[in-house]
């Protein structure tokens, strides 16, 4: 399972990189180049059977009576890109980065079975460029980093859980922030699994109807707001460790690409901008700055790994990113006595003007960081 997933990811990414490096300008992807796919209950008509490599756009219209699914497939049926559940009478635009080769477009009425297929030949000038080995190395190193973070987090989470289970309020409070650090550094990877994040990192206001509140923030409320540890909290602490072990086991299988690394870095800053700067994340413990630092460290790691490629494509961008990472780090250092400790000032002691300053610094970094993915695939 793992091998297959990684192969798909690598192939798609390689296609993306190849395709984009062939682009001459940003305006290559125009509506006029799109393939119109008319899906019906027993037909799948495509307006073109051959397209140049690069960004392929499918303008799909379902004229059938059932919901359908449209896919671009490799010859061995691995999925390049897909859209499920296109309702009758509705339209959808699907885009994919595709390198030269033979493909099929499949329409699956009722979203079942082999579907109706059309050939698609993607043309390109013979020799297809290999993915930059530097990017492969960056992904490999980032995968290792994500694994290390999970591995290092487990003992800290276990220490936190033990303190809760011992009923030791002070020790539990002390262990709380640090137990989250590795998670916060690699959150986009952790979140990519979808099912772990809602169990371990959901806040009370983020609960779905009927969802039981578990994880760090549930315990945070018990420790700081309710100031007591009961049987339920002890059980939840154990559950947190179990869920984090699941994360630790699966993190190596995460789909990671150079672009997902770059966008993950930006997403970490988004986390800071929406949850930490406002003080919403750790509203009872006020350890937001610990999470903040973790997010920035994780973003920086992804950036540093991608930097050799990005610096070649867009040196002005990496210069700006270096500057803004340094500025944000310097600002954060004001809130801890020792640059090696994660003993940050309690966020409820951080005034309005200071929060504004932090917010400005986050925006200053996040805006250029949003351009990193483009600099990597250029």
């Amino acid at each position: 399972m793992r091998a297959v997933r990684l192969t798909v990811t690598a192939a798609v990414t390689a296609a993306a990189l190849t395709a984009l490096s062939a682009c001459t300008s940003k305006s290559d992807a125009k509506d006029g180049d799109a393939i119109r796919v008319t899906a019906a209950d027993s037909t799948c008509d495509t307006s073109s059977k051959s397209v140049p490599a690069g960004q392929v756009t499918l303008k799909i219209e379902n004229k059938g009576s059932r919901a359908t699914e449209v896919e671009i497939l490799f010859p061995d049926d691995r999925i390049v890109s897909e859209k499920e559940n296109i309702g009758p009478g509705t339209k959808y635009t699907l885009t994919a980065e595709v390198k030269a080769g033979s493909y099929e477009i499949a329409c699956r009425p009722g979203m079942k079975g082999h579907g109706v297929r059309q050939k698609l030949t993607v043309t390109g000038g013979g020799a297809t460029a290999e993915r930059d080995p530097k990017l492969d190395a960056a992904v490999a190193r980032y995968r290792t980093y994500a694994q290390e973070q999970a591995d290092e987090t487990l003992p800290k989470a276990e220490a936190f859980a033990k303190a809760v289970q011992d009923g030791d309020l002070d020790a539990a409070k002390k262990a709380y922030g640090l137990s989250r650090l590795g998670w916060e550094r690699t959150e986009p990877v952790a979140e990519s699994f979808g099912d772990i994040d809602p169990k371990v990192d959901v806040r009370e206001d983020g609960l779905e109807p009927g969802q039981k509140w578990t994880g760090w923030h549930r315990l945070e409320k018990a420790l700081w707001h309710d100031k007591k540890i009961g049987a339920e909290e002890k059980a939840l602490a154990g559950q947190l460790v179990t869920d984090l072990k699941d994360w630790q086991k699966r993190v190596g299988k995460a789909e990671i690409t150079p672009t997902s690394m770059a966008n993950g870095a930006k997403e970490l800053l988004d986390e800071v901008a929406t949850g930490k700067v406002t003080g919403e994340e750790d509203r009872y413990a006020h350890t937001d700055l610990v999470d903040f630092k973790g997010n920035v460290e994780g973003a920086r790691k992804a950036y540093e790994l991608l930097k050799p490629v990005a610096a070649k494509n867009d040196p002005a961008l990496t210069k700006e990113l270096d500057k803004q990472f340094a500025a944000l780090d310097a600002l954060l250092d004001k809130y801890r006595s020792d640059k090696t400790s994660y003993d940050f000032v309690s966020y409820d002691k951080v005034g309005k003007d200071q929060r504004k300053e932090l917010s400005d610094a986050v925006n200053a970094l996040a805006e250029p960081l949003s351009k990193l993915a483009a600099a990597v695939v250029k």
Binding site: L20, A29, T259, L365, K371, A373, V377, K378
Partner: protein, 416 residues
């Protein structure tokens, strides 16, 4: 837009409310009815609804330009010490402003670019007319503490004194820079500031901003005189864009007024004036009319029939707003106003958070806003119903001459 000077008494340009701080009276003198027209050096077609106002000119657009319906005003703090980076930002802003005021998207647009990259333009103004968007930049006193600009700070760019009754919120006061976006469509004005702020991240940060509606002057023949949120017609005879003589006398900085880089510029005072709507609404009509020195129906000065009749100041109560702020009571002080009403929802006590966002342009703040506001703050009957909660002052540099020019060139380039 055609010029129908004098043909319609209700038609006038650039009538600021004046109510809260500076009265309609500030421009009541002068006799001739002010007439709306596009700016002194601007394409007359620019005044047409939805059209584009020329970005280039001797003076910045957005001052003498016929007042648009909507405002998005933003004050920024500078976040960089790198003069070169800041100058580059001003150039980038100029280019973006040039495009947006022409109705074009920023950079390479809102779509069609690399799928991996966020679009250059945020996209919410796609498909909308230029809507007479004007973007006007200003430099606050605190900017001159940076980039070695100390010697270039104009003497006229004074820090405003504390006026009696001021209750200024720091988070709505000051700023190293400002950009005034005026347009007939609020989305166009919001889009403009949003995109400039985005371009500026890392170099500048928004300190505060204000949305405004209910333009305070009429530029259409036969249109009603705008009323402020107290329900009064106000700001009767502001300086019109056509009155080049009065603009030169009262608004534009002349050669020799101060540093050469400001010639052709102006000075802007921005005040957020909260109105106590609920208590005003409980005030008797007589009291309301006495406070302003006008009648509510017609807007006529006390004892007169029509809004534009020459006021007889002594017929008004000594603390009447019009009487106190009239140029005849102030040695002829005249300023150009283009303020907007604002409503920012409610204030948590169920009161409308509303008032006037007052914008006044003048040749010298020391001879314009400050003496007028000193007097009003001390005596104006309106003070019972208003409070100044935000304040800022900016030097407005001259216009961007042509496509090679940029905002602030005269200040930052060595030649000036």
């Amino acid at each position: 837009m055609t010029d129908t000077q004098g043909s319609n008494p209700s038609r006038r340009a650039l009538i600021g409310w004046g109510g809260a701080g500076l009265a309609l009276g500030a421009a009541v003198a002068g006799g001739a009815v002010a007439v709306a027209q596009s700016g002194d050096d601007r394409d007359p077609a620019a005044g047409e609804a939805g059209g584009a106002v020329d970005f280039h000119g001797a003076h910045q657009a957005g001052i003498a330009t016929p007042v648009q319906d909507r405002l998005h005003f933003a004050a920024f703090d500078v976040k960089t010490d790198d003069r070169e980076a800041f100058v580059q930002l001003l150039k980038d802003w100029t280019e973006a402003a040039r495009r947006m005021t022409a109705g074009q998207p920023v950079g390479e647009g809102a779509y069609g670019g690399l799928p991996e990259a966020p679009p250059d333009d945020t996209g919410e103004a796609l498909g909308l007319d230029p809507s007479r968007l004007t973007l006007t930049i200003g430099f606050g006193p605190s900017l001159f503490d940076r980039f070695g600009l100390k010697d270039r700070r104009p003497e006229a760019l004074v820090d405003l004194p504390k006026f009696p009754g001021d209750n200024l919120e720091r988070s709505r006061t000051g700023g190293d820079l400002c950009v005034q976006a005026c347009a007939d469509d609020p989305q166009v004005a919001v889009h403009a500031i949003r995109n400039l702020a985005r371009i500026g991240f890392g170099k500048v940060a928004v300190r505060w901003s204000q949305l405004g509606f209910g333009k305070t002057s009429s530029t259409t023949p036969g249109a009603q005189t705008p009323r402020n949120l107290f329900g009064f017609k106000d700001g009767t005879r502001n300086i019109a864009g056509t009155e080049t003589g009065r603009l030169d006398e009262h608004v534009w900085v002349g050669a020799g007024d101060g540093p050469a880089w400001m010639t052709g510029g102006s000075y802007l005072v921005a005040r957020r004036i909260r109105m106590n709507i609920e208590t005003w609404d409980r005030t008797s009509l007589q009291e309301q009319e006495d406070v302003f020195g006008r009648d509510k129906r017609e807007g006529a000065p006390v004892g007169k029939a029509k809004e534009h009749d020459e006021p007889f100041l002594k017929a008004m109560k000594p603390d009447a707003h019009v009487r106190l702020s009239h140029p005849d009571s102030n040695g002829g002080i005249t300023i150009l106003r283009r303020g907007y009403s604002f409503t920012d929802g409610t204030d948590g006590l169920g009161r409308l958070d509303a008032g006037l966002f007052f914008l006044a342009y003048q040749r010298d703040v020391r001879k314009g806003f400050i003496p007028l506001q000193r007097k009003l703050a001390a005596h104006d009957a309106l003070n019972e119903y208003i409070q100044h909660v935000g304040s800022a002052v900016f030097a407005i540099p001259p216009g961007v001459r042509d496509s090679g020019d940029w905002w602030g060139r005269t200040l930052f380039s060595k030649e000036a």
